[in-house]
């Protein structure tokens, strides 16, 4: 389904030295699977997702969805992916209905079908009551619901979620968790990036632990426990960070 193959990306750093944001990352995600791409801030999670979506050109490597290469057909990949991020905003002067219809048009969805999907999604995510209010006056949580619906309007087989609960309160976060459960039951392949490891443990089947652009560990929770000898993802990560800082101190 999703195949990430030796994906790397470097950015120009100070003194013309390239900074490796993502370094030789490879993994696979199947249909109906929720994959947690975890790591602290600056680990390279968002960069990896952006490369997978075709928003950012990889320095090397490729990513494929249903054997369609993102390097060759970025627009075709975008058609198959729904992208959720708290950094993505809403159109202040449009209503949620107008905005969702506009996004549906971007994905060539028939207007009648789009209306039907809006009705379904507004019931699922409980935003029927403010479907025709201006987005600019909605609260953060309400905007996030619109964003979740926006990513699903074209019914993509793959969902990429980048820090979907950042800035949300408990109720807002709960909506996101239920949304992810819904995606799983719908048989979608989901990749979720977060540094909230406790949350990730609750809904992800497999994990990739990313640190400084490199995938340090990959597998199910059991496999990670066997690899690291730790039971909690949080502990595994703290150990990873500690070992790095120890190496840094020695050098």
């Amino acid at each position: 389904m999703i195949e990430v193959d030796k994906l790397s990306r470097h950015f120009p750093g100070p003194n013309q030295q390239p900074v490796m944001a993502v370094n030789d990352v490879s993994f696979r995600v199947e249909r109906g699977e929720v994959f947690g791409l975890l790591g602290p801030n600056g680990a390279g999670k968002t960069t990896t997702l952006r490369m997978m979506l075709g928003l950012l050109r990889p320095s090397s490597g490729d990513s494929r969805i249903d054997n369609v290469s993102v390097a060759a057909y970025p627009d075709e990949i975008k058609r198959r992916v729904g992208f959720v991020s708290t950094s993505v905003g809403v159109y202040q002067w449009l209503s949620p209905r107008e905005m969702l219809l506009f996004v549906a048009d971007l994905y060539d969805i028939d207007p009648k079908l789009a209306q039907q999907r809006i009705a379904d999604l507004s019931r699922l995510l409980d935003f029927e009551s403010y479907l025709d209010r201006r987005c600019g006056v909605l609260s953060t949580g309400q905007k996030q619901r619109i964003n979740l619906a926006r990513a699903l309007i074209h019914d993509p087989p793959v969902m990429l979620l980048d820090e979907p609960t950042r800035g949300l309160d408990i109720v807002g976060s709960q909506v996101v968790f239920e949304y992810i459960q819904h995606l799983r039951t719908e048989g979608k392949a989901v990749i979720i990036c977060t540094h909230r490891l406790d949350e990730a443990e609750r809904f992800a089947g497999r994990f990739g632990l990313l640190h400084e652009g490199t995938l340090k560990h990959l597998g199910t929770l059991k496999e990670l426990q066997q690899q690291t000898g730790e039971t909690l993802l949080t502990t595994m990560f703290i150990n990873l960070l500690k070992s790095d800082s120890a190496v840094g101190a020695q050098s």
Binding site: V88, V90, R150
Partner: protein, 729 residues
């Protein structure tokens, strides 16, 4: 791994999506009150305000049919004396000259215009007594409260000499030096009082039986200045229009690019399967629409103010459909150009604030040439016609005055449109690129740096940049050879050399800077033998059809016009050796123009579009360059030259090389030059080829054979399509 990848044939993007995108952008923009304020309120306020200022201060040299002067007095008694004396003087003046009438309004009347409307008058002046208690007359005038203050000094003694009473007063007038209305009121009133004096003197003379004749009678005739520069106001109007159009486009341009990035909605667009160029086109259309709406609002408000002030007859030429149409076309092209410039700049910015910081210098830079063009004696010429912004302001002025030069108008439109296309190409390169969105290229300046890797063909932005430069230089340099004080042969050789600079040197420099490989970038490939044959066949035959087409498009009137035009050029081509003519009119244009139009330009356009579109674009541009000849626009050349360009484009597309086109072009021009060289001999043989006569029908019949053979060869032996889509599939 790549062998497992699925292969997909991309579906072409529909143009209706661009319109839908633009509609959504417009909906968002127009719901924002800030836009509406800029769009509607600003023009509605600015022009009436400017009108008031103009009327108060600047219009001293402009005749006014209706003015309203505010006159104040120290007392009601003075007011009454003024009404009686000036009123009587006015009656005397009207008796002497019925054309002159002065109305003034008593202090208690509320409706001054009612008096004016009662009879047809040349001048209507209303005096309103608006004394302000507690202030001296000088203060009232200095404060601008009154245009003129009148102080009446006198003993009001009445002498009874001749049965009638005469009063003696000293009239003191106080007015501001720069007040045009004050000056006019003063002149009108003193004329009335002079009429009183004149009447008094005449009565005294009659009483004493003295002759009325005077030792000296004076008559004066005022001659209009032979050449008066246009009023600065008339240049100010297009400048204001241009500035307001720019203002209208600024906010939506920032909002739809940097604003979207700041709000995080840009990612929605970039993550969708819509090509960046389509997204940009939608935004461009939206910005252009708002800019045009602002321009229209300004135009309407401006004209309404001019009509309300009664200035339209004085300032403007004949306001008619043609003038309004030309102004609208100019505004559309300018708005498109400036919208593209704005989008290319604001696409770089990461936030609203950053975009504003970039645009302030742009606006200041734009203002400088605009103000420069306010100079009244500045006339539009070749270099100024290709200077962005200055050309629009000057052309706007000429359009409003009604003395527009069609050639300059075309040059202004074409150059502005080309700069717009260039700016749009830059915007397309920047908009939504990961370097700008995520800073992946370090900084956005990386985009404009010389690329590290050489490319096989020029990118569209580079090609458009080159086209804009070549067109500007074509206008500026193109007329130099004919101005050289030398023989016609030398002038022709200089023209050939100019072609080399324009169409070869400039593209080569641009290509070198943009790191475009020479051989592939200019299509220097050896074609198959069949394509050489095609070139020979078409080169030897096609000119007959092109010539016939050009002749058939000429009317008798047009032929007369062309004869006169060419007579002014003083081209005595008979004294020029044939080899010079062949070099300047056949060899140099053929090689240089093919080098640029097909080898470079069509090649670059072809990388991003279909074969048909690239052929058409290069062909039309080729045709446009051939319409501009010295000081005239030869419209009849547009269709034949464009068709010729299309044929050359097809040969280039099928051969993949620039060489067959060069040969075809050379033979084509060479035949035309040779036929005109041996015109007399041909005429003596009964073959009319001079003075725009038709060619013998048999020539055309014979010519169809090689054209048909060439068409078959092109169809069967051309290279396989080299479109980007074909490469993928």
């Amino acid at each position: 791994m790549s062998d497992r990848s699925t292969i997909i044939t991309p579906t072409p993007e529909s143009t209706s999506r661009t319109w839908r995108l633009a509609r959504k952008e417009l909906r968002e923009i127009l719901r924002d009150r800030r836009t509406v304020i800029t769009l509607v309120l600003m023009p509605l306020l600015v022009y009436p305000l400017l009108g008031v200022i103009m009327r108060k201060g600047v219009l001293s040299n402009i005749s006014l049919d209706n003015i309203e002067a505010h006159v104040c007095f120290e007392s009601e008694a003075d007011d009454a004396i003024f009404a009686t004396q000036v009123g009587y003087g006015n009656q005397l003046r009207v008796q002497a000259d019925p054309q002159k009438t002065l109305l003034f309004q008593p202090a208690d009347s509320d409706n001054p215009s009612a008096l004016g409307a009662a009879q047809p008058l040349k001048y209507q002046m209303y005096f309103l007594n608006r004394a302000k208690p507690g202030e001296t007359l000088e203060q009232q005038v200095a404060d601008g409260y009154a245009d003129l203050a009148v102080r009446v000094v006198g003993d009001q003694q009445t002498q009874v000499n001749n049965g009638g009473g005469t009063s003696y007063f000293r009239w003191e007038f106080i007015r501001a030096e720069k007040s045009a209305v004050g000056k006019r009121a003063f002149l009108e009133i003193t004329e009335c009082l002079e009429a009183l004096n004149e009447d008094y003197t005449n009565r005294l003379l009659r009483l004493n039986d003295l002759p009325l004749d005077k030792p000296a009678t004076i008559a004066s005739t005022l001659l209009a200045a032979r050449s008066t520069g246009p009023s600065p106001l008339i240049t100010f109007i297009p400048l204001a229009l241009v500035l307001m159009t720019m203002t209208g486009a600024v906010y939506p341009a920032i909002d739809l690019t940097a604003g979207e990035r700041e709000r995080g909605t840009m990612e929605i667009l970039i993550a969708s399967p819509v090509p960046r160029m389509t997204l940009l086109a939608g935004k461009f259309l939206a910005v252009l629409t708002v800019a045009l709406l602002t321009a229209s609002m300004n135009l309407v408000s401006m004209f309404a103010t001019l009509f309300a002030l009664g200035l339209e007859g004085t300032l403007l030429g004949n306001v008619g459909f043609t003038m309004i149409f030309q102004v609208v076309i100019l505004m559309v092209v300018f708005a498109a150009f400036f919208s593209a410039v704005l989008l290319s700049i604001t696409s770089v910015a990461r936030s609203f604030k950053e975009a504003q910081a970039y645009l302030i210098p742009l606006m200041l830079i734009s203002l400088t040439p605009g103000v420069f063009s306010l100079m009244p004696d500045l006339k539009i010429n070749g270099p100024l016609a290709v200077c962005p912004l200055v050309n629009t302001v000057l052309m706007g002025r000429d359009l409003l005055l009604g003395n527009v030069n069609v050639l300059m108008f075309a040059i202004v439109l074409i150059s502005t449109a080309l700069y717009g296309v260039f700016a749009l190409a830059i915007a397309a390169r920047i908009f939504g690129s990961d370097a700008v969105l995520y800073g992946s290229g370090g900084t956005w300046t990386e985009l404009l740096k010389r690329p590290a890797i050489a490319t096989s063909a020029a990118p569209i932005s580079v090609a458009m940049c080159c086209l804009a430069i070549v067109f500007s230089l074509f206008i500026v340099l193109g007329s130099i050879p004919s101005r050289l004080n030398t023989t016609l042969s030398n002038q022709l050789l200089a023209a050939g050399f100019t072609s080399v600079i324009l169409f070869m040197a400039v593209p080569m420099i641009v290509a070198a800077v943009a790191r475009v490989r020479f051989c592939s970038g200019f299509s220097f490939h050896l074609p198959s033998w069949s394509m050489w044959l095609v070139a020979v066949l078409l080169g030897g035959s096609l000119w007959t059809f092109i010539y016939e087409l050009e002749v058939s498009m000429l009317t008798d009137e047009r032929i007369e016009f062309l004869k006169k035009l060419f007579a002014t050029f003083k081209l005595n081509l008979t004294e020029v050796p044939l080899w010079v003519k062949l070099f300047a009119l056949a060899v140099a244009p053929a090689i240089c123009e093919e080098f640029f139009f097909r080898g470079f330009l069509q090649n670059a356009i072809r990388q991003r579009t279909s074969a048909a579109l690239s052929i058409l674009c290069a062909g039309v541009l080729f045709g446009l360059f051939h319409v501009i000849v010295k000081d005239a626009l030869l419209f009849e050349r547009l269709l034949p030259s464009t068709l010729m360009g299309i044929v050359l484009g097809i040969v280039y597309e099928r051969s993949g090389s620039v060489f067959p086109g060069m040969l075809l072009h050379l033979l084509h021009n060479g035949f035309l030059v040779t036929v005109s060289e041996y015109e007399k001999q041909l005429t003596s043989w009964g073959i009319g080829v001079s003075e725009h006569q038709h060619l013998p029908a048999t020539w055309l019949l014979y010519a169809t054979v090689p054209v048909a053979v060439a068409a078959v060869l092109l169809y069967r032996n051309g290279r396989a399509s080299n479109s980007p889509l074909a490469d993928i599939s």
